[in-house]
Symmetry: none
Subunit: 131 residues, 4 copies
DNA sequence: GTGGTCTAGACCACC
DNA sequence: GTGGTCTAGACCACG
């Protein structure tokens, strides 16, 4: 599967599912008209509560990323790819802005922040290579 | 006052108070042995419940940033400045790491993330100049 | 339940809960990965306010004795047993020291204090047998 | 003076004053019909708030340990010595009982508690000799 | 059902 | 005036 859940994360589990489905669609791992895994199957694979998967799917439906195909399952819509690609960036921009605001409050200069970002990127890169 | 609350933030109000008191101490806006604003006063100024302020102060006490002076108020400890300066960076690093992790999950390349950070820094800088 | 609250105690209610949860863990009455009673349940059983229980649990979380399992409850950590066993003695030592200090201030000789302790131990032993 | 205040103690300052006056009387350091220091004098000597001293004296008056002598000051009553000696023991017994109760709750055996008391007595004795 | 947060208002001890 | 504790009750996110 293309999804990994961290139960100890700060993000809600259902939100992790939502995001990662979107990322998978944006990356082309699931294409329009293809079916996502059933609620039961995904819940079993991820070892989480079916209610949680159902909730994630419900939200994706309300965002018109998924649609129900009667008697068959949930399919990716044709408009999904464009939406997911857009959101991918927007979600990150919002978080970046929040961090910058926090830096401003704590009187950390933009240059210092930039250097922190570089440092952490380097660290994560090393870790990512190992993993 | 040196504190601003964002009710739409992802961070709990009490946590915003905790962080910003730390930032104020790190920046020298409140010095050791000085009193922080009283629970009631700060609550009134920020238009929040005294219990919420009390909770923030309680946490700062448990971190030995503040101590109670009975019948007088809460004073900044001598060790507070060093602690807060250290944390100032650490708190931000944590949030930067979280954003990078998010980017990794959504398969956004490090270079792309770096460019987003630059863009947003530039935007905030303009806003900051206006304000 | 394994907890008893004394409303006439010098200790705050939330502190009594904190201590007794620690004692229960040290004694093996609650084991790692098991859930402590829910906030609402314990509050009902002890006839105290849920906020008071929540405050006690919050402190135990900050000491890494408990962790939240989202939507499920609060679980005892693996490191909790060792911590609680250590503290069990330390908490008592602190109180013993306080009493000795009080005795010193009131110029009661150590021998006299020791004899008081013996007397009271004997009295409590008798009561304990009856109960 | 025969009084020492610990501002960081768990005991209220006014209570420390009350207790230590009583101890001084029980020990014969101040005798019946003698005057205690004036509120202003004692407050200055101990570097505490005069209100705090006044409150302590008020309580001692209500317990008939002290009486006002018009235009002169506060004098120790004739019944004071007996009262103070009695209380000295009773106060300690209550605290000893509380500690024993706590030990019972945490399933610490009476023998173990006795040994803790001995240890701490020894430690305090050493410290007391140095000081 | 679970915990987390916040508000509102009370009472206490202390200075 | 100060902080500390407790109660009561609301709303939210999560499973």
């Amino acid at each position: 599967m293309f999804i990994r859940i961290q139960t100890d994360s700060e993000l809600a589990i259902y939100d992790q599912v939502v995001r990662q489905i979107k990322y998978a669609i944006a990356a082309g791992a699931i294409r329009p008209d293809e079916l996502v895994p059933s609620v039961r199957e995904l819940a079993r694979d991820l070892a989480i509560n079916p209610n949680t998967v159902a909730r994630a799917y419900r939200q994706l439906q309300s965002e018109k990323i998924l649609v129900t195909v009667r008697g068959t399952g949930l399919a990716v819509t044709s408009q999904a790819v464009a939406k997911c690609k857009k959101e991918r960036i927007a979600l990150l921009q919002k978080r970046v802005r929040d961090v910058i605001e926090e830096a401003r409050l704590s009187k950390i200069a933009p240059e210092e922040l930039a250097s922190i970002v570089e440092q952490e990127l380097a660290r994560m890169a090393v870790k990512g290579t190992q993993a």
